[in-house]
């Protein structure tokens, strides 16, 4: 057996290991379990999927797609625990609306109605709560959705962090296309709707403890129009997913695994603002793993990629949309990055995330 045979054997063994049923080894929850990377994925699959298992949940998509009577509905939820609550470009209220609207939108649904649950810490300024509620209204108006029911809890000082918001949303799916990472096939094109990482870096800098100044603002926005535009323009849309916790890299890995394809991304093609890159270099992190709250990754039929990007670019939120890669056959289940330098490397799911509490 040659060295490279042996290496290949080892690598195959690793791939088998990677696909094994996840197991939570820790006895206690750590921040990594909430950071959106591998630990989160493991926790969700080993605890929640295991407990609640049903065919809809198994998709682990942005939204659950439900058939209720004659209607196809999308249902989703997210809890928001961002710190700081107010940051350049938005606040937890914008996130709470846009995040849920986006999970509906990228599922191909027209977002309609939202619920809002507030967990407020004793001592939280009422003026801040009003500010959050006002932002939510603004964002809801912009997304043309309505907050139709809610709930309020107050926890003792020291049992919360100002205000947590959980929204759930319902949308209606008015077409009969199937969307989802498992619809992706070789030859498809991978698109991002705009420059990546603005939100995560903005939050990190907004905490103030890094002493880094910038003019960055969060990209939080509601993507329902952009998603609808893409669906209109490209019949061959395979999937869309908002690149939140875990960033674009995590979405791409989900695609590669669900569709058993290779996703090959051109580093050069990925839109990243210079400031995002600068902050990321200073901190030693990779923008591909940094959260956005107003960008999605879409995979479309390779033949439709130009049309798709043009449609996105016609909308202000998609002005810098770009094809960033292609889908191939092998190595199945992996994301490869062609570096600007001309090399190729793997782009795996992140284990821990340097950015907790970003949404």
């Amino acid at each position: 057996m040659t060295t490279s045979d042996r290496e290949r054997q080892v690598l195959n063994r690793i791939e088998r290991t990677r696909r094994r049923r996840p197991k939570v080894r820790e006895e206690r929850i750590t921040l990594a379990h909430g950071a959106g990377g591998k630990a989160t994925q493991t926790l969700v699959e080993a605890v929640f999927l295991e407990a609640f298992r049903n065919p809809v949940l198994e998709q682990l998509d942005d939204s659950a797609v439900l058939e209720i009577g004659p209607s196809r509905l999308a249902l989703t939820t997210d809890s928001f625990v961002v710190t700081p609550l107010f940051f350049p470009g938005g606040d937890i209220g914008h996130l709470a609306i846009n995040g849920t609207v986006n999970d509906l939108a990228v599922s191909g649904a027209r977002p309609l109605y939202l619920t809002a649950g507030f967990i407020i810490e004793e001592g939280f300024p009422v003026a801040d709560l009003i500010r959050i509620a006002t932002s939510m209204r603004e964002a809801a108006d912009a997304a043309d959705v309505h907050v139709v029911t809610g709930d309020t809890k107050v926890v003792q000082r020291g049992k919360g962090d100002g205000c947590y918001v959980t929204t759930a949303g319902v949308g209606v799916i008015e077409h009969d296309r199937r969307l989802g990472p498992s619809e992706v096939r070789p030859g498809d094109a991978v698109i991002v709707s705009g420059p990546i990482g603005d939100h995560g870096i903005t939050i990190m800098l907004a905490r103030g403890d890094l002493g880094i100044e910038s003019d960055l603002v969060s990209d939080t926005a509601s993507l329902h129009e952009l998603a609808a535009a893409l669906l209109d323009a490209a019949p061959g849309v395979r999937m869309m997913r908002d690149a939140t916790r875990g960033g674009v890299a995590t979405v791409l890995n989900e695609v590669a695994r669900a569709a058993e394809v290779a996703v090959v991304v051109e580093e050069d093609a990925i839109p990243v603002r210079p400031e995002v890159r600068g902050a990321a270099e200073l901190l030693g992190i990779d923008p591909l793993y940094v959260a956005c709250e107003g960008r999605f990754v879409a995979v479309v039929d390779g033949a439709e990629s130009d049309r798709a990007v043009e449609a996105l670019r016609r909308h202000p939120l998609g002005a810098r949309a770009a094809v960033i890669g292609r889908v191939g056959e092998a190595p199945a289940g992996l994301v490869l990055l062609k570096t600007a330098f001309g090399g190729t490397r793997i782009c795996d799911v992140l284990v821990g995330d340097p950015l907790p509490r970003i949404c």
Binding site: S4, G342, I346, G352
Partner: protein, 372 residues
């Protein structure tokens, strides 16, 4: 990004690759060790190996300061963090390094308060602003980082901030290189010298390598063209039959290093008689501690440390990987029991660790790239 993007040009890389290939003697195998984990990271992150002929092998060296921290020191740090009122701080890289009872995140889950900082000065700032806390900074790193710690201790002393201490784990690069050169099981043709360490210590200290041991060394920058060019310079030396210390990274590294930094280190710190390196065992005069004059800021003196030597896990072959004897994938637990998610060894933790770099960036690429 100036001084970065210029050194990532694919066209020039192809040219350099052609020159390197042209320097290869048919039938000869070349093995170069990149001493510094930063280089390991660059190599995998940019896919530099894609430009190298099969006959050149890059061997990953011991220069990842996170990777060489032994388990016992992690345990000591957690022990300090468990003392009432203590806020332990360190660089993000340390958070996932396993001690015998878990890493810093696990410790936090059980009640300690260990936070990442960007700079030791940030730890000092917390101490200044929160006098009720005892802020300890776990200092790690080679000569690159030691001056920052020393400057921070000097400032703490000047300001009289008495709720600040340093848990000093600084190591020095030369004894580690020497240990490798002295190890019988490794044949190397040359070294990529650690670029950022050299900004501090300069290039002259490496001359024992090219002189006594007869191995060429090129101080290398961290962009991919820097690395390729340094390999080219090494190949030239071999071709020419030279064995010298060369400086590829002249835009950043002065031959004489940074005298201020060296002075500051010398003022605040002194060599320890010996120090344990993970996987490499005890190495004489290979680490720094605070001088007696700064004992007030020395966490090792302020807190009674268990200081128990913890044997590395049986399956762990980090020592062999750090010495370049094994490729990461040759470790029996690589990628199965030992993954970035569940690291057994330190080399799987730091992004500069050889195992992590190979697992995260490098695996599969060489043989599969053309498939897609």
């Amino acid at each position: 990004m100036r001084f970065v993007d210029e050194y990532r040009d694919a066209g020039q890389a192809r040219a350099l690759a052609a020159e390197i290939a042209a320097l290869c003697e048919p039938g000869r195998e070349y093995k170069f060790m990149e001493v510094c984990g930063g280089h390991t990271h660059t190599i995998y992150k940019h896919g530099i190996e894609d430009y190298l002929p099969e006959s050149i092998t890059l061997v990953h060296g011991p220069g990842c300061p996170v990777c060489v921290i032994p388990m016992g020191r992690v345990d000591d740090a957690i022990h300090i963090a468990r003392q009432p009122g203590v806020l332990m701080t360190s660089f993000g890289d340390m958070m996932r390094v396993p001690g015998s009872g878990g890493n810093f995140f696990d410790a936090n889950a059980e009640g300690t308060n260990i936070r990442m900082v960007y700079s030791p000065l940030d730890a000092l700032k917390i101490a200044r602003e929160q006098p009720d806390l005892q802020v300890v900074f776990m200092a790690i790193g080679f000569e690159t980082t030691a001056p920052s710690t020393a400057m921070t201790v000097l400032r703490a002393a000047r300001e009289g901030i008495d709720n600040f201490a340093v848990f000093c784990n600084h190591v020095t690069i030369l004894p580690a290189i020497k240990a490798i050169l002295d190890s019988p099981d490794l044949r190397l043709d040359g070294f990529l010298g650690p670029g950022h360490v050299s900004t501090v210590i300069g290039c002259a200290p490496y001359e024992f390598i090219s002189g006594h041991y007869g191995k060429p060394l090129v101080v290398a920058g961290f962009e991919p063209l820097d690395v390729l060019q340094s390999i080219y310079l090494l190949m030239r030396q071999l071709k020419d039959g030279r064995s010298e210390v060369e400086n590829q990274y002249t835009r950043v590294v002065p031959w004489q290093g940074n005298p201020t930094a060296l002075r500051v280190i010398g003022e605040v710190m002194e060599l320890r008689p010996y120090f344990e390196w993970r996987g490499l065992g005890f190495i004489s005069h290979s680490a720094l501690r605070l001088r007696a004059a700064y004992a007030d800021f020395d966490a090792e003196l302020r807190y009674e440390l268990p200081d128990v030597r913890v044997a590395d896990p049986k399956a762990c072959q980090c020592g062999e990987v750090l010495k370049g004897v094994l490729k990461p994938w040759e470790c029996k637990v690589f990628g199965t029991a030992c993954t970035p998610e569940t690291p057994i060894g330190t080399c799987m933790v730091s992004p500069e660790g050889a195992c992590a770099a190979y697992y995260n960036f490098g695996r599969f690429t060489r043989q599969r790239v053309n498939a897609t």
